[in-house]
Amino acid sequence: MFDSLTGKFANAFTALRNRGRIGSGDIDEMCGEIRKALLDADVALAVAESFVAKVNERAQAALPDLRQSTNQSQAIFAIVNEELISILGGAARRIRLAKNPPTVIMLAGLQGSGKTTLAGKLAHYFKTQGDTPLLVAADLQRPNAVNQLSVVATNAKVPVFAPEVGNGVGDPIKVARDGVAFAREKFHNIVIVDTAGRLGVDIELMNEAKAIRDAVNPDEIIFVVDSMIGQDAVRTAQAFLDGVGFDGVALTKLDGDAKGGAALSIAKITARPIMFVSTGEKLQDFDLFYPDRMASRILGMGDIQSLAEQTKLAFDGDTAAKLEAKFAEGDDFTLEDFLEQMQAMKKMGSMSKLLGMLPGANSGAMKKQLENFDEGEIVRTQAIVQSMTPSERREPKILNGSRRLRIANGSGRSVKEVNSLVDRFSAAQKMMKTMRNGGSIPGLPGGLGNSAPQAGGMRKPPPNNLPNKKKSRSGNPAKRAQGEG
């Protein structure tokens, strides 16, 4: 996402960095590059020009001071970053919950922008937050939109209010109104109203959207927009703003290679924040939008913050605490713990998405690798571990040839794969021991599974003198009793 934009920004900065001393002309040159990059990314002309003018003005003004400092290009980089954050909407904004539930959220947008899919994702998101969302099928226009929403709702395990079959039959205004009343009655605290896609120029449909709005009095109207939209984005957004009005923007299909420049324009011109981004076809492919993090991504600095948050989310308190306690007590890290970690990792979503948040992940070669990442690897590794008996998981040392063959047969993998997993596991186990004993870490603790790097969960214990039970035991029983006593 925003990748090509990232590449072009990177080029502009590299050119700048390679200058020994930055002059006024260099800044002009960089601004020219940025302007072209923005236009190629579908940023509206007016927005691109005002952005570049602002960056140029600030950079030129800062230039006299910069001459003394050693890291001039960094300072200019910071200016671009700040301006980018401001264009993306400044601070992050979230859904405002109504004082008296239910909170009504209405979705509006062009046809094919992804409203129905987003409705499901939004419902799924609220459900994981502990809310009780209800989906309302008020798109009675498109053939089987109601049907689609019902399927999406079933997948998200969220109830749907769909009294009309749709396909051009029924009154969407009544459905919306009844939906909210139904939610109030059944104590749903959030209602998501999916409406028909419409063009900004279609007065009749725009009036219908207005009527739905007036009927349900939504707390938030979200304008759903396809990140691949072109220069028309601004006109369309303006038409919706004038027609029904909206409070925030949701950007969809960001998993493609669209540069999403139009999104910047919408945020800038309508002064409405981007609140959500949708990055795939699955329910989980949904993120809150953080302007500062997006700016980091565009500039190729990665998105460590989101990664850390996802990790925290997946490793629920219990798992993490248990592992930590185990670690501190000096127990061995077993395949059982490993299995638990893997399950937690799967909760975090796709591996390629997670790895994509690392700095530099958007470079050409790395990107290709990520696109073709074999998500099945985790599943296969899991199958192997699950084919082991509990005692084997705790004590991999007992795995002899016949046990390995049984595990291979049980998991449908080859003995070679079982061997390689056990090898990698013992290497990792060894490293954990070294870490616990206060030794330095040779490389990163990413040894478990060539494609399943450990994502957190293990924290280094305080370096006090922990009793180390597994320390070398004396061969002399008397001495050993002394040592353990």
Partner: protein, 279 residues
């Protein structure tokens, strides 16, 4: 499609001033024509100072349009297979239905294959269309292998002597290699029984510069024969369609201009150019 109305209203003389060229650039960029086509038009206009400025713009555009036929292929011997492809949400299913209706009105016997087995209720969507226009639809269950559905439909089209088989496929982002491979498989499997005559790429008229990247990758993957440009009833100018046609030599065959079946017509390049010059 009067792309240049604004421009024509502004520039009346034969020579364009620097300011007018700036205006021209703005209009072209805002129409999503992209920086390459825009630069070409501007450069040509500059170099042909003595000629009529508008003629220059028109000539550049005419030259960049494809010279390939804009007709839909027809094979009298066996069913003609049309594969409809594109990214998510561009209007493939609606276009497939409109195209079926168009061919039916030409007195052709048409069969639709609902090979979009991925998106929730997509099969039901095309079935509803099929009922409305009175065209049989062959489908599998949600989640079925799209290639298998297409293969069954191809065999059925031959057995029942249909003139046309329109295969509606699931939307896929061009960046997903696996999904592109799936599309290649659909084509490969159908071609075991019958050649695919047309692979039409559905391009959303509101798309920006990404549209070209989409078409390019689909073209590399399955080999496109033409474009269907949708959603041209909005305020978008659809310049990306022209840019795509110019860059990949892929003729725009149909345009979609609304939600009803009738809002679908052949793309007429002569009329298009006429529209350009009329005020």
């Amino acid at each position: 499609m009067s792309l240049f109305k604004k421009l024509l209203a502004k520039i009346t003389g034969t020579n364009a001033s620097a300011g007018e060229l700036q205006d021209l650039e703005t209009i072209l960029i805002e129409a999503d024509l992209g920086s390459d086509v825009t630069k070409k038009i501007i450069d040509d206009a500059k170099s042909r100072k003595d000629d009529n400025f508008l003629d220059s713009v028109k000539a550049t555009l005419t030259n960049s349009l494809s010279t390939k036929s804009r007709d839909i292929a027809f094979d009298a011997q066996q069913p003609t297979v049309l594969l409809i492809v594109g990214v998510n949400g561009t209007g493939k299913t609606t276009s497939a239905a409109k195209l079926a209706n168009y061919l039916k009105n030409e007195n052709k016997k048409v069969l639709i294959a609902a090979a979009d087995t991925f998106r929730a209720a997509a099969v039901a969507q095309i079935q509803t269309w099929g009922e409305r226009i009175g065209i049989p639809v062959i489908s599998g269950n949600d989640g079925a292998d799209p290639a298998a559905v297409a293969f069954d439909a191809a065999k059925c089209a031959i057995a029942e002597k249909f003139d046309y088989l329109i295969i509606d496929t699931a939307g896929r982002l061009h960046t997903k290699d696996n999904l592109m491979a799936e599309l290649e498989k659909v084509k490969r499997v159908v071609e075991k029984v019958i050649p695919v005559s047309e692979i039409l790429f559905v391009l959303d008229g509101t798309t920006g510069q990404n549209g070209l990247a989409q078409a390019q990758i689909f073209n590399e993957s399955v080999g496109l024969t033409g474009l269907i440009v949708t959603k041209l009833d909005g305020s978008a100018k659809g310049g990306i369609a022209i840019a795509t046609e110019a860059a990949l030599d892929l003729p725009i065959k149909f345009i979609g201009t609304g939600e009803t079946l009738a809002d679908f017509s052949r793309f007429d390049s002569a009329k298009y150019l006429e529209d350009l010059t009329s005020l």
